[in-house]
């Protein structure tokens, strides 16, 4: 760490930046109806939306782990043709506005979509307006976060252990399960939490692709939006506070990784 006087040209914007991030949260706490809070927290609609959010975010994370870890491994360990293109394609949903993702999902998996039409006519499966549709929308938006963080962990890991395992006769699969996975487990866990947090906060793709119905597709962010739109500011603040509490809990869980900077 460098020593000496902190230049004002850096100090002032730094403090400004901190206030900019903290002030809106203070506003949320300031408007919280603390007196009626316990009663509002136990309202069936709130409990229902929170349960649905936790369930869908967890299922989406599971789906992302199953698909994302192998994908990250391919990107980090296998020099296949078109790898750069694949990596670029994976980052598209990361920068794409989620509502655009929702429209794209409808056109691909909707009843008249590219694949959805076939799913509907062959299996009678239709994803829009179902809880499974919410999971798909959340996973679509959250998967790149997992892939990128796991790939980063794989690239940062010491490959000599894997090489040693290979020299001792282990197959690529055995090396993956017995050496690689334990080695990057903390990275996968961090990626999983990031992915879960992103899925929990998902709004645009969900409301566009899965619709909005309490208990089936109305997750917490949708409930916040609808409550605010209908003019119930107190209700929206309470729902927001719950999401804030969940976010802070995630931060606390990851504090060693992100907050304890050297």
């Amino acid at each position: 760490m460098t020593r000496g006087r902190v230049p004002g040209a850096l100090l002032v914007p730094a403090i400004g930046g901190l206030i900019f991030l903290v002030l809106p949260l203070a506003g949320l706490l300031w408007r919280t109806p603390w007196a009626t809070l316990p009663q509002r927290l136990t309202e069936p609609e709130v409990v229902e939306a929170l349960k649905l959010s936790l369930l869908t975010a967890s299922l989406a994370t599971l789906l992302c782990l199953v698909l994302g870890v192998p994908l990250a491994w391919m990107l980090a360990r296998v020099a296949f043709p078109g790898r750069r293109v694949a990596r670029a394609l994976i980052t598209v949903p990361l920068v794409l506005p989620p509502v655009v993702g929702g429209i794209a999902l409808l056109l691909a998996l909707g009843r008249r979509g590219l694949l959805g039409g076939w799913l509907d006519s062959t299996f009678g499966v239709s994803l829009p307006f179902t809880t499974a549709g919410v999971v798909v929308a959340e996973a679509f938006v959250a998967l790149p976060f997992l892939v990128i963080s796991v790939e980063g962990a794989l690239r940062g890991a010491d490959t000599r252990y894997e090489e040693a395992a290979a020299t001792l006769g282990a197959s690529r699969w055995t090396t993956f399960t017995h050496v690689t996975l334990p080695l990057v487990a903390p990275g996968i866990a961090a990626g999983g939490v990031l992915c879960w947090a992103r899925a929990l906060g998902e709004f645009g793709a969900t409301i566009t692709f899965a619709g909005n119905y309490p208990g089936i597709t109305q997750t917490m962010p949708l409930a916040v939006y609808q409550t605010m739109e209908s003019g119930d500011l107190d209700g929206a603040v309470v729902l927001s506070l719950i999401l804030l509490a969940v976010s802070v809990t995630i931060l606390a869980a990851l504090r060693d990784r992100w907050l304890a900077a050297p």
Partner: protein, 261 residues
């Protein structure tokens, strides 16, 4: 801005003739269009008014050179919330008195709202009505997916009234935030039907068919319009509301399928 004034000044010269020429350094209002209407009028209007108000806005601008009308179309409940939170609006046109009351109760309206049109619900279905839906009871059948508006939005409240009147136990698959979002789900083919206004179905008559049903007569929405208390352009707002209520305004609205109040 300079350009706007130059155009407005030119318009004034053309309309006022020699009198306008004699006062080239007059005040901006004197140089603007007739009736002292100039600047931007921010109109917050129910989603169901999208096409007709856009047309009215263009005609208003043509009649009042120097005035610009900008619109914020959304569900009336969302608009009411935005206005009460201090959004810069000059005029509010709601699809139901309930959402207007939210604004007037908060003391944000200047004067009393005026009802300018009425509208009622139809069942919007895919072109050709492939599921052969004939009335509200046809929406409760197995495998029929229906989109409704959320009940906070006027089209949702009207749908609830109509469904209660019919006794049809309908479970929609989604509750949309405004009537156009519900209609979009029909256009996409993701739902088989949606309860929307007659005017919305008419505006999209290339994509959807409208099925009339008797219970909609029990859920007729009255649309109130008002100038807002914090209007930055009160004169422009007043003039726009007057234009909506004029014979010219009425003919555009009835042409779109709205009923006279």
């Amino acid at each position: 801005m300079r350009l706007t004034f130059a155009v407005a000044g030119l318009a004034a010269v053309l309309t006022l003739g020699p009198a306008g020429c004699g006062d080239p350094a007059g005040t901006p209002t004197a140089r603007a269009g007739e009736g002292g209407v100039s600047g931007t009028v921010n109109v917050f209007a129910a989603a169901s008014l999208t096409e007709s108000f856009t047309t009215l806005g263009k005609r208003f601008e043509a009649a009042h050179r120097g005035a610009t009308v900008t619109f914020n179309f959304a569900g009336s409940s969302a608009l009411a919330t935005q206005i009460n939170q201090g959004a810069p609006a000059d005029v509010f046109a709601s699809a139901a008195p309930a959402n207007m009351s939210t604004v007037t109760a908060a003391g944000n309206a200047a004067g009393t709202p005026t009802t300018f049109v009425r509208n009622q619900l139809v069942i919007a279905v895919a072109k050709g009505n492939p599921k052969k839906i004939a009335g509200l009871s046809g929406l409760t059948g197995p495998g029929i997916k229906v989109a409704l508006c959320a009940e906070a939005v006027p089209c949702g409240a009207a749908a609830r009234t109509a469904l209660d009147a019919s006794g049809a136990a309908l479970t929609p698959v989604t509750l949309e935030q405004d009537v156009r979002a519900a209609l979009a789900k029909v256009k996409l083919g993701e739902v088989d039907a949606a309860l929307v206004y007659r005017t919305d179905a008419k505006a999209s008559s290339g994509d959807v068919d409208a099925i009339e049903f008797p219970e909609s007569a029990k859920a007729v929405n009255e649309y109130p319009i008002v100038v807002l208390r914090k209007a930055a352009n009160a004169a422009g707002a007043r003039a726009f509301v007057d234009y909506v209520l004029s014979a010219d305004g009425r003919s555009v609205l009835t042409g779109a399928g709205f009923q006279a109040p």
